[in-house]
Each structure stands twice: as structure tokens, then as C-alpha cells.
């Protein structure tokens, strides 16, 4: 709609393709961002191609070769049931990325909706919504997720749900603090003055402008979600064995940490590489998207 009213000044001077290239270039020149993105693309490939990449099944037990040290057959050795560690790590990538993706989707949707409505509505609606949000925020995120999983039972779905419930308030808090800085800006007032409905202003103007900081926050929340899932699985409350998850593998290897340290060490490294990649991506996006947003993100995410 606005495109019809306003003349598109950029179209005459610079071809669109060059603008796109320039914007992409700005992101890709950031070393942390491109490294993080590269690692994540690679990991997603591994996760998707797990059935073809893994040399053995994730739960395939070779009882003649339990706790084997690395060999040509088992590149990273086997665990106490003779299951191939490498294959379990590859399959574990699926669970971790699935959790991260689902938590991001859920907390981004609900968190930004709650935050945007509260921030845009203002007044009592905002106050009540934010008091409820602050109550959930007061719980240490991991503790809340743990308590929810404990009550609802341990399964992949419940882990995703619990971690999302624990981290949605964080996204909502960031969204609201961004929206209240956008609300008084002249273009919002102008949209209202020409008779746009509230929901339309919210969807067309407020949300797109508020998204960058929220995207940064959700990238960080993906990292936190992976750590939370690993922690829950490590405690035996997450995805149940024999399903291969990185947290489960660390906990399997815990008893053999002196004789077969590779089991726990390799799984921990997998988690760390993924989380580092997500944090690099988040830091990079924060630096490139909008330097102003440092204020909103960071401390709110813990």
C-alpha cells in the first residue's frame, strides 16, 4: 500500500540485485556470523542425513564390543551396550536441532505476540500482562523447565513444551521493551491518523520494526534451549534412553569417565560447537542488524 503512495527512490538509482548483494555482504563479512552460520548449516545437513551418514544404527548394540576403544569399525569407540558413539552423536544432532527449532518457533510466536500486544496496548492490559510475565521470569529458566517436565513426564514433546514455556517470557519481555520505543514514533501515529486499525498497525508496522532485536534474542534462546535439553537429558528427565541425545550420551559415559573418557567428552564437544555457533550467530546479528539494540538483549536472556 505504502509503495503506491511513496515513489520508490531506490529503484531508479541502484539496481535491486546490488542492494541485496550489499546487504548480504555486510552480514557475510562479519567473521563470527558467517562462521556460526556455516557450522549450523553443516550441522543441519548432518541431522537431516543422519540415516545415511551414520555407520551404525543409533540403538544397534554389539554386545561383543562393549566399551570398545576407537577402531576402524567404531571410529569413536562404543558405549557400555556396544553402541557406536559416532552414530549416536550423529542421531543426537537431530534431537538437539529439533528442540532448538521447535523452541524458537514456539517462543518467537507466543513471546512476540504477548510482548507486542502488551507494549502496544499500554495501560492496564500491559501492566497485568507484564506482572504475569515477570512472575514466570522470576523462576530460573532451567528450574521451571525441570519442574514442568517432572510433572508432565519425560518425552521429547514435553521437553520442548517445558523449555518453551520457560523461555517465552524472556522473548516477550524483549519484544515489549522494543515495542514501547516504537509506539510513540511519528509513523505509527501517522498510520493511526489515516484510520488503520490497531491490529493492522501492529502487524504491518510495529512487528516488522521490532523484529531485529527479537530475532537476536531467539537465536540466543535456541542456544539456551539446546543446553537445557542436554541438562534435562543428563539428569535423566529429558528424552528417555535408548534414544540418542547428546545429554544422554554424556550421562551414559559418566560412569566410564576414567576408562572411556571419549564417550562423554565427544558429546560435550558436540553440544559446545552447536551452542558456540548459535551464540556467534546471535552476536553477529546483534552487531550487524542494529547496534542500538544492545540495550534490549543480553541480560534479559539468562
Amino acid at each position: 500500500m505504502s509503495a503506491e503512495v511513496l515513489p520508490d527512490t531506490t529503484a531508479d538509482t541502484v539496481p535491486r540485485a546490488r542492494i541485496v548483494r550489499r546487504i548480504l555482504g555486510r552480514y557475510l563479512r562479519h567473521p563470527g556470523l558467517s562462521l556460526g552460520l556455516f557450522v549450523l548449516v553443516l550441522l543441519s545437513f548432518v541431522a537431516i542425513a543422519a540415516p545415511w551418514l551414520a555407520p551404525h544404527g543409533p540403538t544397534e548394540a554389539d554386545l561383543m564390543n562393549t566399551l570398545a576403544h576407537p577402531s576402524g569399525e567404531y571410529l569413536l569407540g562404543t558405549d557400555q551396550y556396544g553402541r557406536d558413539i559416532l552414530s549416536r552423536l550423529i542421531w543426537g544432532a537431530r534431537i538437539s536441532l529439533e528442540v532448538a527449532l521447535a523452541v524458537v518457533a514456539l517462543s518467537l510466536t507466543f513471546g512476540s505476540a504477548i510482548g507486542a500486544i502488551a507494549g502496544y496496548a499500554g495501560g492496564w492490559v500491559e501492566r497485568i500482562m507484564m506482572v504475569c510475565n515477570d512472575i514466570l521470569l522470576a523462576f530460573p529458566g532451567f528450574l521451571l523447565a525441570l519442574a514442568l517436565v517432572a510433572a508432565r513426564g519425560s518425552s521429547l514433546e514435553n521437553v520442548i513444551l517445558a523449555v518453551s514455556i520457560a523461555y517465552t517470557p524472556r522473548v516477550a519481555a524483549v519484544m515489549r521493551s522494543v515495542v514501547i520505543t516504537i509506539r510513540p514514533r511519528p509513523f505509527i501515529e501517522a498510520s493511526r491518523a489515516i484510520g488503520m486499525s490497531s491490529s493492522r498497525v501492529l502487524l504491518r508496522h510495529v512487528l516488522p520494526n521490532a523484529l531485529p532485536p527479537v530475532i537476536v534474542v531467539t537465536t540466543v534462546s535456541a542456544a539456551t534451549a539446546i543446553l537445557a535439553e542436554a541438562g534435562l537429558s543428563f539428569l535423566g528427565l529429558g528424552v528417555q534412553p535408548p534414544t540418542a541425545t547428546w545429554g544422554n550420551i554424556i550421562s551414559d559415559g559418566q560412569g566410564f569417565i576414567t576408562s572411556n573418557p571419549l564417550i562423554s567428552l565427544s558429546a560435550g564437544l558436540c553440544i559446545a560447537v552447536t551452542v558456540i555457533a548459535l551464540n556467534l550467530l546471535g552476536d553477529g546479528l546483534r552487531d550487524t542488524l542494529d547496534p542500538q539494540m544492545r540495550r534490549y538483549t543480553g541480560e534479559r536472556m539468562l
Binding site: 512472575i135 529458566g141 532451567f142 517432572a150 510433572a151 569417565i257 560435550g268 559446545a272 551452542v275
Partner: protein, 313 residues
């Protein structure tokens, strides 16, 4: 100032009541019948009915809720179905263990994280900055329980510097401290990483402000700018950071306690979860979350005193 303090306290009470509500619904979130789930498969019908009556599950929800809030606010958080002891007493017993771990972890984290963060902001863009930030990135990215396992492997098995267990039955103070050191270091390391990152960005923001540029233009020595002007102004966000990381460190402490088999609130909650002792879980979660609110409210009030700007806005 008084008004500000009163507001914070009012907000704190609202939050605590809200947390009681969340904890109340936690037990009701158990699918099916919580009472028979808690007692396991071999429970007799009478015992299930007795527990139901005790939990008030046979009454309407709003009545259950009001009763729960009333009892929770007087410190009655139900009884443990396993030991028969009041849940609150069980929680109280494990608090000293958790407090020792959390407080020493936070102290280590602040002592390491704040100076490192300040240094890397002052030397923004140098190798020292890069080095500290890489270390901090590693600190926030490795799972804390895994770092614990590696430390046990390296510092307790290979080099026998620390005991592998995070607690000892000995009453001797120094033995206890010796056992506490490794878990506290592990917890402190991961919290320090957060504090360093957030201190750095708070400090960078202050260093970029106009009054710092004016001071520079006037020829104020750099040392004076950093320590007298910037650090003072960055201290308020850093205090806030410590408050937020406290909540986060309590979550990590659960995992640290599990790795080092150390008693504490986290271990107690875990044990209760596996024993399906939900009233104890409720009590533990409530007390941990209340500790967070208490610490954050006190910090809020402290920086209201320190920085008059906070209490005005």
C-alpha cells in the same frame, strides 16, 4: 526513595503470590490423578484417598487454591510423602549446602568476570579483548555439567588436587571447603563468562557516551576516565547483571550438584522428582524461586540508593 522502596516491596509480594500460583498448578499439571501417580502402582485405595484428602484434591479448585496460598504464606508447604516430614523443614536442611555453593560461585564469578569485562572493554578490539571474549564464549557454551565432568577427570583423577565428590561427611571446616572448591570453581567459571560479556557491553556503552568524549577532549588522563567516570557509571548495569546471573546460577547449581553428588536444594528436588514426592518438589521450587526474587528486590533497592536516577524513573 521511601516510595520507591515500598513499590519494590509491593511488587515483590505480588511476584511471590504469583509464584505460589505457578507452583500450585505444577502439581495439578500431572496428567490423570496426581495422588495415585505420586503413590505409585502398588498404592492401596485407602492411601490414595487419604492423600487426596490431604492435598484437597476432592474439593473444588478455587478452594484448593485459596487453602494452598494461605498455607504456603505461613510456611506450610505440605509434607513429604516419602519421609513424612514437613516439606519446608526438608528444604531448610539443604539450604546451607546450596547457599555455600551459590555464594562462593557468585563471588568467584564476580571477582573474575567484572575485571575481565572491564579490561576487554577498555582494550576494545585488541588481542586481549578477543582472548577474553573467546574464553567467555566458551564459558557460556559448554554445558556446565560437562565442564564439571572434565574437571573431575583432570583435577580429581589425573592430578589429585581436589576430591571428586563435592561434599564430605566430615565436620571439619577445611575438609568441607576443600570439597566445595571444585564445584564452586566450575559454577563460578560459567557465571563469570556471562558477567564478563555483560560487563564489557555495559562498559562499552558508557565509554561511548558524550561525557566521556568531553573528558577526553579536556585531556583527562585515560586511567581517570576509566576508573573514575566510566566504571562508576557502568557499576549500576553490572549490579543488575549480578542479580540476573544469580537466578541463572541457581539453575546451573542443580546440574553442578548432580555431577559432584553434592547435597543441596537442587539434589533434593531431583531426588523428590524421581521419588514422585511432588509436595517436596513444589516446596523446593518455591523456595529457590523466592530466593531469586528476594535477591533481585534487595539489589533493586540497593541501586535505588546508589543511583537516584533509578528511583525517579
Amino acid at each position: 526513595m521511601l516510595r520507591y522502596t515500598a513499590r519494590r516491596l509491593l511488587l515483590m509480594s505480588i511476584t511471590v503470590i504469583g509464584m505460589v500460583t505457578v507452583v500450585f498448578f505444577l502439581l495439578r499439571a500431572i496428567p490423570g490423578d496426581p495422588a495415585s501417580y505420586m503413590l505409585g502402582d502398588y498404592a492401596t485405595e485407602e492411601s490414595v484417598a487419604a492423600l487426596k484428602a490431604e492435598l484437597g484434591l476432592d474439593r473444588p479448585v478455587w478452594e484448593q487454591y485459596l487453602g494452598f496460598v494461605k498455607r504456603a504464606l505461613t510456611g506450610d508447604l505440605g509434607t513429604s510423602v516419602v519421609t513424612g516430614q514437613p516439606a519446608f523443614d526438608e528444604v531448610l536442611e539443604s539450604i546451607p549446602w546450596s547457599a555455600a555453593l551459590s555464594v562462593s560461585g557468585i563471588i568467584i564469578a564476580v571477582l573474575a568476570g567484572v575485571p575481565l569485562g572491564v579490561m576487554s572493554a577498555v582494550r576494545h578490539g585488541t588481542f586481549a579483548d578477543l582472548f577474553v571474549m573467546l574464553g567467555a564464549l566458551i564459558g557460556i557454551s559448554f554445558p556446565v555439567f560437562w565442564v564439571g565432568l572434565v574437571c573431575i577427570l583432570l583435577l580429581a583423577h589425573e592430578v589429585r588436587l581436589f576430591p571428586a565428590l563435592g561434599a564430605s561427611s566430615s565436620q571439619d571446616f577445611f575438609t568441607q571447603v576443600h570439597h566445595l572448591m571444585l564445584p564452586a570453581l566450575v559454577l563460578g567459571f560459567s557465571v563469570a563468562a556471562y558477567i564478563a560479556r555483560l560487563t564489557r557491553s555495559a562498559m562499552l556503552e558508557v565509554l561511548g557516551q558524550d561525557f566521556v568524549r568531553v573528558a577526553r577532549a579536556m585531556g583527562v588522563p585515560e586511567r581517570r576516565i576509566v576508573y573514575r567516570l566510566a566504571l562508576r557509571n557502568a557499576l549500576i548495569p553490572v549490579l543488575a547483571v549480578i542479580g540476573v546471573t544469580f537466578a541463572w546460577s541457581l539453575g546451573s547449581a542443580i546440574l553442578v550438584e548432580a555431577v559432584f553428588s553434592r547435597p543441596g536444594l537442587g539434589s533434593m528436588i531431583l531426588k523428590a522428582v524421581f521419588a514422585r514426592d511432588y509436595q517436596l518438589v513444589q516446596a523446593g521450587v518455591f523456595v529457590l524461586a523466592s530466593a531469586v526474587v528476594l535477591v533481585n528486590t534487595s539489589l533493586d533497592i540497593v541501586y535505588g540508593w546508589v543511583d537516584p536516577r533509578v528511583s525517579v524513573s
